[in-house]
Structures are given as C-alpha cells and as structure tokens.
Symmetry: C2
Subunit: 419 residues, 2 copies
Amino acid sequence: MLCFHSRQTVSLFTLVGPLDQSLEPKSFKITCSVNQVPAPVAVQTEEAKNKSECFGVFCQTYDLKAEEETKSWKKLINVAVSGAAGMISNHLLFKLASGEVFGPDQPVALKLLGSERSFQALEGVAMELEDSLYPLLREVSIGINPYEVFEDAEWALLIGAKPRGPGMERAGLLDINGQIFAEQGKALNAVASRNVKVIVVGNPCNTNALICLKNAPDIPAKNFHALTRLDENRAKCQLALKAGVFYDKVSNMTIWGNHSTTQVPDFLNARINGSPVKEVIKDHKWLEEEFTEKVQKRGGVLIQKWGRSSAASTAVSIADAMKSLVTPTPEGDWFSTGVYTNGNPYGIAQDIVFSMPCRSKGDGDYELVKDITFDEYLRKRIAKSEAELLAEKRCVAHLTGEGVAFCDLPEDTMLPGEM
Amino acid sequence: MLCFHSRQTVSLFTLVGPLDQSLEPKSFKITCSVNQVPAPVAVQTEEAKNKSECFGVFCQTYDLKAEEETKSWKKLINVAVSGAAGMISNHLLFKLASGEVFGPDQPVALKLLGSERSFQALEGVAMELEDSLYPLLREVSIGINPYEVFEDAEWALLIGAKPRGPGMERAGLLDINGQIFAEQGKALNAVASRNVKVIVVGNPCNTNALICLKNAPDIPAKNFHALTRLDENRAKCQLALKAGVFYDKVSNMTIWGNHSTTQVPDFLNARINGSPVKEVIKDHKWLEEEFTEKVQKRGGVLIQKWGRSSAASTAVSIADAMKSLVTPTPEGDWFSTGVYTNGNPYGIAQDIVFSMPCRSKGDGDYELVKDITFDEYLRKRIAKSEAELLAEKRCVAHLTGEGVAFCDLPEDTMLPGEM
C-alpha cells in the first residue's frame, strides 16, 4: 500500500495485487493508490447460522393465497434490510410491518441482515416483531449472508455500515464501507429480484450507492437511491420555522448533491404556500448564509441534546422515501433522492449518484423534474458537491471496477452527528 | 419510619408524621408502617422551564379550523405522555403522530412530560418530531410539571417511572413510584379533561394505576388502565407457536390479574381458529406448566438477546391498547386491560386494578365480558394474583388516602426484564 499523505486525508486500502506503477498523482496533493483488483467474492460457508432462516412464528405455514382472495390483499412483498439490529432499523422495521409504508392491503416479508456480532440482537428484534402480532407481517427471516438474505428481495434498504473509528478520515470510511457495499451489490445482482429498488442509508451513502450499483450490472442503475430525504425534511422544517408557517406549507424542496456538508438545500426552487421562498422569506442573507448550515448541523445538535443519533427521524425519512416511490407525487410537487446521474437535464456530471428533484407515478419508478430554475449561486454550490462526488468516485475506483483508485478529498465533509 | 423486616421484603417509606401506635401487624411476618399522611402536593415553582411550552415549529399559528372543514378532520386531540424522553416513548410518540393509533383524520397534540434531568433529551425528541413533518401532528409541548403538561389531556399515557435501584425490592419500588403516580393523579384531577383516559405503563403498573385513580376522585375510576396488552400479545404468539398456526388465528386471550409473575394468561377461554385452545393443543401439561412461564420470561429473554428491554414491542402494545378503546372490538372477541374491579361479575375483590377481558364500542369506554368459563385451576391462579394485588394495596395505603400502610408482600414478583 502506498499513501501520499498530507493535510487531513488518510486513505486506508487493502492492497491485494502489486502496485500499479503507471499511476501519476498529477496535481493532487494527497493521493493514495491501490491496484485495481477484482472486488472480493463473498465466502459462502455452509455453517448453519450463515443461512437465512425463517424465524419463530413466521415459520408457520399458512394459506396466504386465501387471504389474497378473501381480503383482496396484494402479493407478498419481500423487503431486505441490512443493519437490521441497529437503532434506525429498530424504528423502521415496525413501520414496514404495520402497513405504514405499503398500505393496509400489502402483506410484507422482512429479510433481516445482521452480522455475526449482532446475531443475538437480530433474534431479539425478530422476537419483538413476533410479539407485535402485525397481521400484514407474514414472514421474517434473519441471516448474516447477503447472498441468502437478499434472495428475491424487491426492496433492499441498506442501512448497515461500519462507524468511523478513532482518527479515521472520510477516505478510510469510503474504503471500508465501500467494500461492504461492493459485496452487497454483487449479492443483489446474484439473487435479488431483477427490479429490486435499493435505498442506501449507510454513509457515505451517495458513493456507497454508486459502488453498489456498479457491482450489480444486471439491475437497472436507476433503481439505486442514496437517502437524502432526512435532509429534505429538515430543510422544510427550517424554512417553515423561519417563515412562521406550519411545515406542510413548504413544498418543492430539493436537496442537491452529496449527503455531506456540500449538500445544497435549494431555496431558489422551493415554495411556501405556493410562492417562491425568496418572496416569502425576505431575509436573503439568512437563506444564503444560515439556512444550509442549520439543515446540516441538525444531526449534531440532536446528538448533543439526545445523546445519540437521530434514529427515529431517520427511519421516518426512509419510510417517506419509499412512500414517495409507491404513491403518486402530488401535482406540482417533487421529492429529493440521490440517483444515478446518467441522462440528467441539469448538466451534472454523468456516472455519479447525486441528489436531485424527482416525481413518481407510484409504480416504484421516478422521473427527474424538468422545470427547475438555476442561478449563479445555486450552480456554484451544486458544482462543489459534484466535484466532491467525483473525487469520492476516484477514491473508490478499485471497488467499482473502473481502474486505479486515488484519493484527493480536499477536506472532511461528513455531516455532524453522522458516523 | 418503622420496618419489621425479615425474608426478602424491604419497604422504604418516607415518614412525614409521628408513628401511628395503633397499628397492629396481626399475623403478617413482615410489616412496615407509616402514618397516614396527606399525599404530597406538587410544588408549583414559577421557573420558566417548569412551564409546559409549545416547541419550535409547533408554536406556529395555523388555521386548524379550516382544515377541520376542508379535510373533514376531527377536532384536535390532546395526548399527554410521561417518561417522554425514554425509549418506549421514542417509539410510541411517532406512532401517535403518524395516525397509526387514531386514524388519518385525527389531528394530534402531544404534551410531553419529562424530568429536569431528561429535559435536553426531551428537546431532542421534539426536534425529531419536527423533522418528521407528520401532517397530523399539530402541537408539541414539553415540560416537567404535570400540572402544566396534563392540562386538558384527553389521553394520559403514564410511562415514566423510577427504575429499581440496586437491592431495591418490590415494596420499595411501590413506594417510590407510588409517590409519582399519586402526584400525577392529583395533577390529572386538577387540570385534565374530565373524561381523560389514563393508561399506566410504569411499573408496578396495576398498583400505580390504583394510586393514580384514588388521587383523581373527579375522574371516573373506570377511565384508568394498567397495561397488560404486551402480556396478551406475547401469550397469543406463544399459543400460535405451540399450535403451529399464525398468530392472527388466536383470539379471546385474557390476561388476568397483576402485571407480575402472578399474572394468569387464560388458556381456558382463549381460542385458536375459533376452537377452545385445549381442543387444539392437546399437550395440556405444556399449557399448565410451561405456557405461563414462557409468556412471563419473554422480557428477560429479550434483554439477554437484545441487551436492553423491549421498548418497541411495548410501544406497539400501548398503541394496541389505545386502538382497542377507539375501535369497535371484533364480534365475539375481546382484549385484556387492567381496570378498576368495582362491579366485576367474576367475584374478584372490589377496589383494586385487575386485568380482565373487555370489549369496546370504540367510544373510548369498555365493558367487561360476561360469558367467561372458570375451572378450579384458573380460579386458584386468579386468587393468587388477587391476593398479591390486595397486599400491594395495603402497602400503599398511605398514598391512596386509605389509612396506614403495611407491607406483607410474600415474595418478589417483578417480571424478568422489567425495572
């Protein structure tokens, strides 16, 4: 492993092959390089606990077909969740089971992915799901092998990620978590439904989503999302507070770019009571200088207050992101989600995962919104987030199968309060 | 303070007046006595943070009346929650805000009661509720004074309670928490809606509910509940597992008595697929010797697995308990809740809070189910739980205004996994 190290960035890559000597750091001050290596293939052991298995009462046989007929229920939907023993999942799983996301006529199968370390906690979660007697929750299985757990998944909610260790920089986190998402991409590609919808929550989520989709070439790249909905929700709330209105009056809120401190909550296109934000909030200095920081620092403030990160509202925002794809978007409005940029009408670089404004017919798919206004200020900030994501992409080239990685991340842009 | 102490029971009472010498311990081996004292009056300080105040975006003015008309929304409902910064509340509050409990046309005001120590965490919870943008959540206020927070409450969910300290026995817990519930009862009596429905979750919940209702003489005693719904849910799940059916096939499940190890999950009257349990589960030895223990030990097993107590499924069961009172009970079925025993048709002692089978028309009220079968085995176990609750009642007489307290709790019957 070879690392050129100065300023704040350290990169930790596992070097598997010989160093590629042709790599030229060019003008970058900080670079790390590793050879392009085939991304790791998951080891498929035959141990019992490696197998994804139905849990407890959910192993009972029952005639769901009869219920599909008598109750006009839809066909069972398979939802896989990674990091299933964590706090975000502990909120989200019960929302999925209750019918809050997919509606009262949609039976649900939950496929929970944990780790060897968290396996007992995973059993605990499954037991609490048993004890909740949700009529729509028809199957629960738990496992630690993504090739088992993701089988036939129609949704994959990728929440699990390694937290940042002491002294670890964003580049190190990118590599460590990137490896997880490369493996999970391969697993999805191998066993999931051919039209699986994937929402990546584990950070850094945009680039993790890019890694994941690159490792799942048989699944449409369009199906991969990076979660920026919590940022959107927080931005709406801050605009409502400033304008002195209730939050349901704020619409057309876009988060552009990376789920990091370079994210761009767009107050140029957002509306309050149907009017442009800048017509309602006359304090443009606040919009330009304080608003974005308020949105970004929310997670950090919450950790200070509450002593842990915001699991409940993150879970709410994941549910919101899913509902936005399975419910028609209200006329004239849109929502934000980090998606693959190929073919975007905004001039944003191709081949990254970038949060942009979308609309859905409620069929699980989406289209980008066309009538968006840009000004110099907005363009400049979008370009900064774009540059960051391009740098992150270069940093994980060894995980996307696109050559030799080198890191030139200019600074650490993790959101406060995030791992 | 005078304590006669032997075996396992210790009682810790705060003695305020001179000892009543007329107290005769009679045949009890272990007794504690305190003078009957007027229950403490809450100190109403004028400090700002003692005041219950609207939080953040929920302080915005908006025309809810217009929405009541245009969206056919119901009138705003006030729900007070104590222990609002705790883990159970962290699940429950989002269910209440989402419409899962009261339905999609019922706007909700949440009034959160915390403590001085938890006040910052309470702000954190309110911030996460802000960021969740629930359209039905129209007001959130936080405070540490029940006389402020309970004002006009139509529901009071009393979750907060002191956990058991090292070496503290049930009698000690009864007194410490009893004082909290006496004060909260007085506060409800002073400021809550005259028809407030109260669900006591903080343990020991049956006797806490009794203390609470005794301190709220202007509110119908019938309106007070002690939560045994998690026990009911767990019992249904265990019967389903044993019978090899899905849990939605189990009905008519009663938990009788105290939320403690003397609770009686009733397999005589419960049904599976409409048939008596004993006809479906032929292993009567399992029913008599293992089933009850499986239900009771569930919380302890969960703590082992999951490392903390079962907040999520407890919150689900509180939501279930509320839904059972605001939704008509399905024909032929019933649910369990700990309620005041006056006028019960089962021969259970008057003037305690005992879990029994109930039905509701969905108006917030309930009636006891009449057609219940008893056998010797069921009677005997109900009598044991009844005796325990009568003993607990004697133990807290100083908090119910009914004379001199003395404790003769035969053994520690806290449920494993509970505080």
